[in-house]
Symmetry: C2
Subunit: 210 residues, 2 copies
DNA sequence: TAGATTGTTAATCGATTAACAATC
DNA sequence: TAGATTGTTAATCGATTAACAATC
């Protein structure tokens, strides 16, 4: 646990810095100043320096930041040098789509299993794995030390499953169900992807731009 | 275009209010005070009242808010009484998953067509629609007055497609590609869903909770 | 009417930006 | 060394919370 509290605003900007640095790296750019990065990203240089200095002094006066070094440091901050064992609960369209998203594996998130209640889905092969029945879930989570569960189940099912997962020692839940999971275990982290809400925000802004 | 500027923080909270009100409605709850809603949602009553009063006085002193009325008002604010014609560009796993997500249609977002460059996908049927080749895109967008494009294509392809869409009169882009689209047309709204970034945020918080 | 609760103003808090001394 | 650019403090801005008069 880090000592000083980092605001979520800062944390949510880190992956974007990481993405831009990755692109710079692909273009063989060795160093970058906060000022140049700020122009590319459309944020202030001040904000970049403030954000980074929450975690350490990664730059050098008169020079800027070494792209490769900063890229790796942000990976460390984000925990991307770790290896996470992931399961997908709910193997419908979205679950399968996420299972097939190879980018996640590159970042250390390895899908170890898929689950569903639907007998039509149980047994089908997704990315080389057979979808398992939900009654296999507990044993699988415990035996394989699963770190992260991706929840792509209906909103009615999600809360009970989430509670079970917490008891079975999961570390994080990536929740795609349109509910706010009430997790009493402080060691379990929930990150929500509420697609409907994102779409409504788009709708608001379209409407507003008339 | 509304007169006073509403902050994005407020806008992003509206769909969550909408979701909670929908649940209250399902449970036949007729009225609710900002105080009770605040406890259910885990926000302050002050914030709820402030947020809502950006758009009008929907409550009544001594009574609170009529759930049904407020629900409908928020739908109006979010533009959910409108009917949007939607296309999906990129008909891989994620595109198909989104096409099959019936909840969107309930909210007025009607998928009118799917597109892909991949000859293996062109012609397959997704939710009763044949995936079309990308060379059909322009005519389809123009002839069908498409409002919203869902972009589930690789990041290398997204910017050029987005530019074309703007020229062809699209109103909004729901972008799932991990790039920041640079749109010069101020009438076109972009909403990003950066799944990798969401997952990295989860990773950060898992790491941090050790 | 009395009680409850909103709408709204004022106070506080936190996040962003600006400025500049430190230093490479 | 001189120039550039960071790290960091101080100033500003905006968002959240508290308080309360208005009013149903």
């Amino acid at each position: 646990m880090s000592d000083k509290k980092i605001s979520t605003a800062v944390i949510k900007r880190l992956p974007r810095y990481y993405r831009y640095l990755g692109e710079l790296l692909e273009n063989d750019i060795v160093r970058i100043s906060s000022n140049e990065l700020s122009q590319r990203m459309g944020v202030t240089a001040s904000q970049i320096r403030q954000d980074l200095n929450n975690f350490g002094g990664f730059g050098q006066q008169g020079y800027g930041y070494n792209v490769n070094h900063l890229y790796k440091e942000i990976a460390k901050i984000l925990g991307l040098e770790n290896h996470y064992s992931v399961i997908i609960i709910g193997s419908g369209n979205l679950g399968q789509a996420l299972a097939n998203y190879t980018d996640f594996e590159k970042r250390g998130f390895v899908v170890k299993g898929l689950f569903d209640v639907n007998p039509r889905l149980v047994g089908i092969s997704v990315r080389g794995m057979d979808v398992q029945d939900m009654d296999q879930l507990k044993d699988f989570v415990v035996e394989n030390n699963i770190d992260i569960a991706i929840l792509t189940v209906p909103k009615t099912k999600a809360p009970a499953i989430a509670n079970d997962l917490c008891e079975w020692g999961i570390r994080g839940i990536w929740n795609f169900a349109p509910v706010d999971l009430q997790i009493s275990n402080f060691d379990v982290v929930v990150e929500n992807v509420h697609l409907s809400e994102s779409l409504m925000t788009l709708s608001y802004r379209i409407k507003d731009s008339y």
